[in-house]
């Protein structure tokens, strides 16, 4: 059905509010005209198709956000609506000037409250508005900064009021989020609506990003061309972790957590593989109170002990400075006109919502008398959950609120309830009006601020909702500023910035990242080997016609025991009869548990989960192709988990799909990550894990001598689980023999799946690690790996195969051989961790109080 203006009207008009696109007379406002006709040409179907492209692109790129305590889980897909928010450049300029003024004022207020506090002394701002705000950190008083502006990054939530002007709704100063999402929104809409970008003069965002980079570079305590800039994130569970990782990879900054950093000698250092590397600038996404557990919240694990003192000495710049949360303060709103006059002798350019601070008697009385018509907020809690909408409250709730206001009046501000404008939103069947809030961004540049020509526009989750927040789930829009002149040729926004990350090299790799890569390698290896092994066992179960027949039962028994040994899911099939009877009575149930029970350490489900965790923790390194494959691995796995009664064939099918995807994933890892970015660590983890599991597998199937035909078949299974059966047949063209199987799987230095090959490679890889280079002697972990490699090279297979007939079927020498190898590799793993990943050292408070600041 073609989209005509009639269908727009039909579904569109509901309220008398200001609408961004339509005039009250149903005319289309000028900035929207070009967009409207283009959309008309697309038709409903065309629009929906583009929306699907958009969803797909975001999904492919792994754009997500997290919602705390959300049953739908982490990493929810980002929801971008096809219809952008459009502003004419002329109006945007007015907004930009207003934002520049407001940022300038807030910067002056921030400097004043942490400095001489003239505003309080001169009676411009009541002291309770500052001292009574939990974001006012007395520890930060009197600090001098390296940057001219104290407020380096500022964000404002802006909405259009009924008078048609753009109003400031909220100030964001602590660690404003959204810039990364705004970038991704633009990148996506350029890809999905290329013809509109060619026809309409949409202001590009790229300059603004350059400026952000400049801001951080120039914030360095000592002028440097290439200062060490890090993004401090609370970790992968934070709601905007995607953005932290995104900005880090866009600009080539290191993404670090508190544990990656340490304070020594009055400077801030990043723990890297090589050792400590000085940090110049921190773009901070950890909240104020959590950044230093020495001086601020004692219970915080997210920050760096002693950071504040490094800032105080001007040896590092933290952007925005610790303590800036006090500017997220609706208590300041009523005093902003006086502040503007005090500092700049100006009127405020942007309108604010009428607000009454209850710390003043007259204002408080007004608020108490008019509570049902007002919106009440605490001066220091501006998140949606702490806002009271008088009109929706019962009499009892209003009474309670009155009590709270009377008890601590200075904490509360009441605001007029505003009907903000609506903007068109595509909803699948048409276009409907939704309330929107735009987040605009400002960054300090010289003595003024630069405003992003765009921003992040958030849309209410449904037509009737007035509260807008991503934390509650909601849609977003790209924000287009239309230039007056002709369309200028603007380069498409590049996804990745060209900063030379290679120059910094492996030595500077944060040790937490290195550890995550190492574990990613280990878990990928473990997942693959476990999946292959289980698949081999399931296949045998599927083809054995009669499990009670002697040969079959001996074989299967040996295989089942080896499953427990390879996965380490003891007791399982191993141990005394009383323990294992249950498993042997129903081997399928036990195997299903080894496959699917993720609460069981060693199970495939558990390993996949660990693999997922290590993947998320370093997602800034992965490419979008890898993200796609990773998602499909998860999809396969979730499909299996949803199946309550899988048959053996279902298991085999799942494992087949899993294995193919894992191999694709491993191939992508090798081609997408550079060695200097830490690929080496991934390889070390992978080779180490595969070596260890090869040893366990061979030990489990080879050390006990079996009857001839049983042994023959077990050898065949071993080869099959190692994906080496064809190679064996090709190389030896013979009956399967123990000696030759050992040659192929253990001793052949040319064959990439053999233990000798893997250990040799491991030996070469670890010698490239920073500490290996420094000494003439081999470093601890090198010794262990080299020794393991030598033992394999020097082994005499006939000796290993020897058996003492009287002592039973165990090949003692072989067992000892595998035991030693296994020990050596475990020691290597421990030494590697101790040398390179030792950042998790326990820290604790001398005195142990726990209380909120």
């Amino acid at each position: 059905m073609p989209l005509t203006s009639t269908t727009w009207f039909n579904s569109y008009f509901t309220s008398g509010n200001y609408d961004e696109m339509f005039t009250p007379e149903m005319g289309i406002r000028p900035p929207w005209k070009a967009l409207f006709s283009a959309f008309k040409a697309f038709g409903t179907e065309g629009l929906n198709a583009r929306q699907r492209d958009m969803d797909w692109l975001l999904y492919e790129n792994g754009v997500t956000y997290n919602v705390y305590n959300d049953p739908k889980g982490m990493n929810r897909p980002w929801d971008l609506n096809l219809v952008p928010f459009v502003l004419q450049e002329k109006e945007w300029k007015t907004l930009a000037e207003g934002l520049q003024q407001r940022a300038t004022l807030l910067d002056l207020v921030l400097k004043d409250v942490y400095g001489k506090r003239h505003l309080i002394q001169d009676g411009i701002v009541p002291h309770e508005v500052i001292y009574g705000h939990r974001g006012f950190l007395r520890q930060c008083s009197g600090i001098a900064y390296n940057t001219e502006k104290m407020l380096s990054i500022y964000a404002a939530d802006v909405s259009r009021g009924t008078d048609g002007r753009l109003w400031v709704v909220n100030d964001r100063t602590e660690a404003p989020s959204g810039m990364g999402y705004a970038l991704e929104n633009r990148y996506t809409s350029q890809r999905v609506l290329p013809e509109l970008f060619a026809q309409m003069a949409i202001k590009p965002l790229s300059n603004f990003l350059e400026q952000l980079d400049q801001l951080l570079v120039s914030a360095s305590p000592e002028p440097k061309d290439n200062p060490n800039i890090v993004i401090l994130t609370p970790g992968s569970h934070n709601e905007t972790y995607f953005e932290h990782a995104y900005l880090a990879s866009y600009f080539g900054y290191r993404l670090v957590q508190g544990n990656d950093l340490v304070v020594r000698d009055g400077f801030l250092w990043m723990k890297s593989l090589k050792g400590l590397k000085k940090v110049d600038v921190v773009l901070r996404r950890v909240d104020d109170a959590y950044v230093d557990s020495l001086e601020l919240r004692e219970d915080s694990q997210l920050g760096v002990v002693g950071l504040l003192d490094v800032v105080r000495r001007k040896n590092v710049s933290v952007i925005n400075p610790v303590g800036s949360a006090v500017m997220e303060n609706p208590g300041l709103i009523p005093f902003m006109p006086a502040i503007a006059n005090y500092f700049l002798k100006q009127e405020l350019l942007l309108p604010q919502i009428a607000s009454w601070w209850c710390g003043q008697n007259k204002e408080k009385q007004y608020v108490l008398d008019n509570l049902p018509q007002l919106v009440v907020k605490r001066i220091d809690r501006t998140n949606r959950e702490s806002i009271h909408f008088g009109e929706f409250m019962t009499a009892a709730e209003l009474e309670q609120l009155k009590k709270e206001i009377n008890a601590r009046p200075y904490r509360f501000v009441a605001q007029e309830r505003i009907h903000f404008s609506t903007a068109p939103n595509l909803n699948g069947s048409g276009i409907e009006p939704r309330n929107t809030v735009a987040r605009a961004f400002a960054i300090a540049m010289g003595d003024n601020y630069n405003i992003m020509p765009g921003g992040l526009v958030r849309v209410a989750p449904d037509r009737d909702t007035i509260r807008v927040s991503n934390q509650r789930g909601g849609t977003n829009k790209d924000f287009w500023v239309l230039e007056e002149g002709p369309v200028s040729q603007v380069p498409i926004l590049q996804k990745y910035h060209k900063r030379d990350i290679v120059a910094s090299g492996l030595d500077d790799l944060p040790s937490l990242t290195a550890e995550n890569l190492y574990w990613a390698g280990r878990y990928v290896g473990r997942t693959l080997m476990t999946a292959r092994y289980l698949r081999m066992v399931f296949r045998q179960m599927a083809v054995q016609p009669d499990a009670n027949e002697h040969t079959s039962s001996v074989k299967l028994r040996a295989l089942f025991e080896s499953v427990t040994q390879v996965t380490g899911t003891y007791p399982g099939f191993v141990g005394d009869e009383e323990v294992t009877t249950k498993a042997f009575e129903n081997p399928k149930a036990e195997l299903l548990s080894v496959m699917g029970d993720k609460t069981r350490a060693g199970s495939l489900g558990h390993t996949i989960e660990m693999f997922g965790n290590s993947y998320y923790a370093i997602r800034n390194l992965w490419s979008s192709d890898m993200w796609r494959v990773f998602k499909s691995i998860q999809r396969v796995w979730r499909g299996f988990e949803a199946d309550k009664t899988p048959t053996i064939n279902d298991c085999i099918k799942t494992l087949d799909q899993l294995i193919t995807r894992l191999i694709a994933f491993m191939g992508l890892v090798e081609e997408s990550i550079m060695v200097q970015q830490g690929l080496l660590l991934y390889f070390i983890g992978l080779q180490l894990e595969q070596s260890m599991l090869t040893i366990t597998k061979c030990r489990s199937l080879l050390t006990v001598k079996q009857e001839g035909h049983v042994e023959y078949e077990l050898l065949e299974y071993l080869l099959a689980s190692h994906e080496s059966l064809n190679i064996y047949r090709y190389s030896y063209r013979s009956y399967i023999q123990m000696e030759q199987v050992m040659d192929l799987l253990l001793f052949d230095v040319q064959y990439p799946r053999s233990l000798a090959f893997m250990l040799n490679r491991l030996h070469k890889d670890v010698s490239r690690l920073p500490h290996s280079k420094s000494a003439h002697q081999l470093y601890g972990y090198q010794k262990h790996i080299f020794e393991a490699f030598s033992r394999v090279r020097l082994a005499d297979k006939l000796e290993l195969m020897k058996i003492d007939e009287e002592a039973g079927p165990l090949r003692h020498q072989m067992d000892a051989f595998f035991d030693d190898l296994s020990d050596l590799l475990h020691q290597a793993s421990r030494t590697l961790s101790a040398v390179y990943f030792n950042h998790t050292q326990k820290r604790r408070q001398l005195v142990n109080p726990s209380f909120p600041i």
Binding site: R312, Q845, L846
Partner: protein, 296 residues
Amino acid sequence: MIFNLTHSTEYTYSAQVSHGHNIGILRPRVAQGQELLDFEVQILPEPSEQSERIDFFGNHITRFSLQTPHKILKVVTKSRIKRNFGAFHQAYQTDACQKVTLSVALQSLQRLDPDILEARQYLLESIFIRRANEEIRQYAATSFHPERSIFDATYELMQRIYTDFDFVPGFTTISTPLVEVMEHRKGVCQDFAQIAIACIRAVGLPARYVSGYIETLPPEGQEKLVGADASHAWFSLFIPDFGWVDFDPTNNQLPIDQHIVVGWGRDYYDVPPLKGVVYGSGNSKLKVAVDITREE
């Protein structure tokens, strides 16, 4: 009167500590009737770096970092202090101190002159002293009336806390909520000071927390024991147009010269003697000794 004061804090760890960062308010500040003649701090092991600064409330903060592995941390401060509080104490007898009623004080607190503004921050809630509950309000209301002198009312409040509360070391820790102290009527000096502050703030007056030392005198005829003196805490009431007046509810007295001030803040949180974060596993044992001698 001149005092020589030694304050030693010793942490013994069960396992080696590789490094640590510490801050503490150790250097006594200059205060009404108090001068600091000499001060030194000795830290073992030798800190890799050490600095001093003045905090928001005007206290001296000592900060140091340890980078040598150690099992014992010992911090010893030696101060030489001149106390001459007598003259100010005399002024308590004046009308300016004695005759300010609650209603007059509340009126004066509306003004914006610097002293009043400075004092008003001690009216607000603080980290350890949240808004008083009904029980604390009732307790305060017994002593404070609009037309009664706030000096008299506070004096009575001090006496009542002294009588009603038992001094029981170990019953509370620094993070025991005030309501619990109020309910059980047990605690130590910082609890009593904080209860008093909560009461005074509940009636709308500024009160601050004072941390310091107290010289203990041996019973008649006995030798004074080394280390018998102690860290101590009390509170201070702001009387508009007069100043800050100290009260010690633990000893039921108005401090004169035996109370040596180290620092003050809104509550204990603002003036911890020594705190820190250490890297290492295991537990720690704390030993504190304070010794005050008079210079002849």
